[in-house]
């Protein structure tokens, strides 16, 4: 408790700064675009429609509520991609500030998370509509906030590590974007895994699969995840967050002279 009280003012400052940065970034991103923030609705919807069409055209679905199944996987993975890709270059992109001010560098990474949280909110709204349309009980979506909180911890932990490595090797941006594409196909987003298949065994080691799966179980099947899964989700997200933060804290003072 003492520890929390000691660090709280600093955490509050960092969050405040992150929020301002996210707001400014958000405005810059929508600048000069005719549809502006409508793209946050249109983009996922368009991709969603394409995947649904492919699904209809190529193979028959055997899951009821496939659209919801697909959409949950899609938006959660999108969020992860957006935040982590952003973080690979975030320190360089703000070198002006970092080199000329003594500033909490954590804020730049966290601002990415907040910025995409905002667009994720739009995607969540679509999810609500899709669920209502398919007569799924929307109340269960409330549990999503718990899952999403853990998911954010996980994502920000990964982002912290990426932002540090990105300073030393700018190749990381390319490597990472290839890697997430691979991960996109390796994660059951638009398809299902059969139990005891090789893919399922791989997926067991994929934290993203667990976060997505828990959400699907809750929203579609109204099934609370087993204690094992909950334990795995909580421990992996907290562990990744702490490791990421420690790596960042250890390296952050050296970053200014490398950019």
């Amino acid at each position: 408790m003492k520890l929390v009280l000691k660090y709280w003012p600093r955490v509050k400052d960092i969050l405040g700064l992150s929020f301002s940065l996210a707001k400014a970034n958000f405005k810059v991103r929508n600048e000069g675009s005719y549809l502006g923030i409508f793209w946050y609705l249109l983009e996922p919807l368009a991709f969603f429609a394409i995947l649904l069409f492919i699904r209809k055209a190529i193979w028959q679905s055997n899951v009821s509520d496939y659209p919801v199944y697909l959409f949950i996987g899609l938006i959660m993975f999108n969020f992860f991609i957006a935040v982590t890709n952003f973080s690979t270059r975030v320190i360089q992109n703000n070198s002006g500030f970092i080199k000329s001010l003594r500033i909490d560098k954590e804020a730049f990474v966290i601002s990415g998370l907040l910025q995409f949280m905002f667009s994720h909110f739009f995607e969540f709204l679509i999810l609500v509509f899709v669920a209502v349309f398919l007569h799924i009980n929307v109340l269960w979506l409330i549990f999503y906030f718990f899952v999403f909180f853990l998911f954010c911890l996980f994502t920000i932990g990964v982002s912290f590590v990426l932002s540090v490595i990105g300073v030393y090797a700018s190749d990381l941006k390319n490597v990472w974007s290839v890697f997430v594409r691979l991960l996109w196909f390796a994660t059951p987003i638009f398809y299902m895994v059969e139990s005891d298949s090789l893919l399922q065994k791989i997926s067991m080691w994929n934290p993203l699969y667990h976060f997505i799966n828990i959400t699907r179980d809750i929203v579609i099947f109204h099934k609370l995840p087993s204690l094992n899964t909950v334990f795995f989700a909580i421990s992996s997200s907290i562990l990744v967050f702490i490791i990421g933060l420690l790596i960042f804290e250890k390296n952050k003072n050296k970053l200014a002279e490398k950019i």
Binding site: L17, S20, F97, S100, R102, I103, A256
Partner: protein
């Protein structure tokens, strides 16, 4: 040892080395081979060698020297942007470091949004910025353009805006130590520069300790109590402004 006066900044035997990698002028194939065999050309440049000095409360210390003599690195070390390789730097009180006032604004945002962005980057909360907002706009003299995007500003207007934001943010922090790296000129027109200089004077004469890095010798002589002449990472001379400046001119 004089213990009565609390020193604001103590710099003790500070050294700083940068590893600089060079690109040899060779073909892509050779570059690739070099990379595979880890033959990366690194050279070490010692930017600061065993620097020691102190700054007392209310003192204005000038630092002069040629380009690449380590002036900016020294300020960054004191500000905590860089870390020293050896030696120790102690500061007492709140430090504010200013450099390149003409950078920092985002061209795609409006002036109002820029004030909020730069204010929060400089460590002010949203509430603080709201309180200072009118003052900043008034000082810049750009009230009519408050909702215009900055990329449509003239360069003089951008300078005025940046200077107004920065100076008011610094004033808000009420720093004990002020590190200024070539920020004295505001870059506006004659009237604005006069106003800006007055504001700067007000700031540095308000009892804070100031380290002033500048190539403008007239400025240094006018404001500083003491001057350091830095050359190739060494303190070549430290003392009264007139003496150090004439020594600098001779070399």
């Amino acid at each position: 040892m004089i213990t009565g006066v609390k020193k604001r900044i103590i710099v003790e035997n500070v050294s700083k080395t940068f590893k600089v990698d060079f690109k040899k002028n060779e073909s892509t194939l050779f570059q690739f081979i070099d990379f595979l065999f880890r033959k990366i050309n690194k050279r070490e440049i010692e930017v600061l060698k065993n620097i020691s000095f102190e700054v007392f409360p209310g003192e204005i210390l000038g630092i002069i020297g040629k380009n690449g003599s380590g002036k900016s690195t020294l300020l960054r070390l004191i500000a905590g942007v860089y870390q020293a390789d050896a030696g120790e730097i102690k500061t007492n009180g709140k430090v504010v470091y200013l450099t390149g006032v003409n950078q920092g604004s985002s061209p795609k945002l409006t002036m109002r949004e820029n004030i909020f962005l730069m204010g929060s980057v400089m460590g002010l909360s949203q509430k603080d910025i709201k309180e200072r907002f009118d003052e900043i706009v008034e000082f810049s003299g750009l009230r009519d353009f408050i909702d215009m995007r900055v990329y449509q500003f003239s360069s003089g207007m951008i300078s005025r805006l940046n200077f107004s934001i920065v100076i008011h943010c610094v004033k808000h922090h009420n720093p004990d130590i002020l590190l200024l790296d070539e920020v004295f000129s505001a870059g506006g027109d004659k009237d604005f520069n006069k106003k800006a200089t007055e504001k700067m004077e007000e700031l540095i004469n308000s009892g804070t300790s100031v380290i002033l890095v500048s190539h403008d010798l007239i400025l240094i002589e006018k404001y500083c109590n003491r001057v350091i002449y830095l050359g190739k990472g060494d303190i070549l001379k430290i003392g009264k402004p007139e003496e150090v400046i004439s020594f600098y001119k001779e070399n």
